[in-house]
Amino acid sequence: MSHSTSACNGQNATSTLLKQPGVLVVRKHHFLVRWSHWLNVPILLGLILSGISIYWASPIYQHKADPNTGNFDVAADIGIWICAHVPGQHHYSSPPDWIYNHMSLGPGMLALALRLHWLCAYSFMLNGMVYVAGLVMGGGWRSLLPRRTDLVDALRMFRYYLGFPFAKLARRKWLHPLFNTKYNALQRAAYFSVPVAGLLSVATGWAIHKPTQFHWLAALFGGYNAARAWHFWLVWVYILFVVPHVILVFADGWDTLRSMITGWSMRVKRSEAIANEQ
């Protein structure tokens, strides 16, 4: 992912010799895709934080109340454990609330959390439509479709990422697998799964929000209680996606980050490879 742009400049040198030095650029992301991409940051953050505050009111994972603390919430147990074992947290005033004070809007604010959750949920659905519109208008959806060769290619990419830090430390050459598509197989898998997870979150959200009018939807996910669990676990898809996503963008460099802000990328080579192949 670190191909330079020098090749493109070379090709152009003859035709623009007398004019201002030019660069070849491509528009990588449609502006609607870029807008919805960034809007997802506050919206998803709002959904997750308010969602965990809602979870507090009736945790899915419970056990028999502890005779000493009266606690029955597994999430609160984690907070109690953290306060007992993590340095600096020993004097935390309310260990059962630790998780909710750090991972949500806070405990004991169901009404406020619900209002924010609906606001963000409707925004999320609108934003999802903007994203799909951008994918269709810009033709970007084609780059997200899984291919038959993806499994092997994804494993190759995975091996590359795993080995990269060691190769750096050992000052060994570690070659990026070659591919001639906009995304490599691992990226494609991630960028394809996240919208699918978004769709599932919306569907399970409706299933538990309107369980009588949409009882068929809840039934699709195994009933009301199962749909709640789905809705909860889908959050982890976003978290598991976002962490490497952000790390890799910064590892990849400014051009990639810029392409999601301005749309422009100077990495023309890859698209030319596609053109030559076809």
Partner: protein, 291 residues
């Protein structure tokens, strides 16, 4: 742009062969580096402004409790914030109202699917002494009268319907329970409300707060929902007369609404034209609560 070496003649056939799902090359274009720098600067600046606006918006919308915890000292509560967030609630309520249909019934379950239902009185459970003196008062009737009915009147003059439905709490938990009682719709037919009435105010005067003091519970119910065939004035729970825990002797069972609309120990129903006050709506929850 890059195919000039291979010759243009190949291109049209390539286009035809290209599958609909196949990835297309980006059209590369030339730009002076000054122009690219300008566009980048402009868009990054706009992006920064957007990020600041979003942060400010977050500060505006987050609960005061959350802001205080992360170190905010200023009180950010304002009527504008309330208005905006309530607007979001109303949109959701309008969606719920649009989804409702008197002809769409909620799923019913079998006796083997019944799950335990806890006493979820928000405050203290009332002393059962009220039950012997209990009457149901109807106001806002077409006749202009105020009617008082006791439980024997209700059980003898109306037919009893049974259903096993799910009660869903706003907190997220739910319980499948077996209920029996009269249809609200039958009561509406027997004692028709005044013609302008669109709402029922359903009230329990025996409700208590957490420290055991009287705290009347009142709730708004649209008459369209009251007419639903599965909206019961329940008298029995799991085959037995209602216990005090579950709102003896008469509670509302409205499975198309959240549990908080299912008023226990109803003492008064008033039919009104305008949307009446609602106990939980005044505490920041939604008003319509259709599920």
């Amino acid at each position: 742009m890059s195919n000039d070496k291979k010759g243009g003649s190949l291109q049209p056939t390539d286009k035809k062969l290209q599958s609909f799902f196949g990835e297309r090359p980006f059209p590369a274009m030339e730009m002076t580096s000054g122009r690219l720098r300008y566009l980048t600067r402009r868009d990054v600046l706009l992006f920064g402004i957007g990020a600041v606006v979003t942060l400010a918006g977050g500060g505006f919308l987050l609960p005061q409790q959350t802001l205080s915890r992360i170190g905010g000292r200023r009180n950010m509560d304002s009527p504008a914030k309330e208005w905006f967030l309530n607007r979001a609630l109303r949109i959701d309520d309008d969606v719920a109202e649009a989804l409702y249909s008197v002809n769409r019934t909620v799923p019913t379950y079998t006796k083997s699917q019944i799950t335990p239902l806890k006493n979820n009185y928000n405050g203290a459970t009332p002393d059962p002494g009220y039950i012997s003196r209990w009457t149901l008062t109807l106001d806002g009737l077409a006749s202009g009268l105020s009617i008082s009915l006791d439980i024997r009147n209700l059980l003898t003059s109306f037919s009893v319907h049974e259903q096993i439905t799910r009660l869903v709490c706003v907190e997220g938990w739910s319980a499948i329970a077996w209920w029996a009682g009269l249809r609200f719709d039958d009561l509406l037919r027997a004692y028709p409300p005044m013609s302008q009435a669109k709402w029922a105010r359903v009230e329990s005067s025996v409700n208590l707060d957490a420290s055991g003091n009287p705290d009347p519970y009142f709730m708004s119910l649209d008459l369209a929902t009251a007419c639903h065939p599965q909206t019961l004035l329940a008298t029995h729970f799991n085959g037995q007369p209602l216990t005090v825990d579950h709102g003896a002797p008469l509670r509302l069972l409205v499975p198309v609404k959240l549990g908080l609309k299912n008023v226990k120990a109803i003492t008064r129903i008033t039919y009104v034209a305008e949307e009446p006050r609602d106990y939980w709506a005044e505490r920041g929850y939604s008003r319509y609560d259709g599920i």
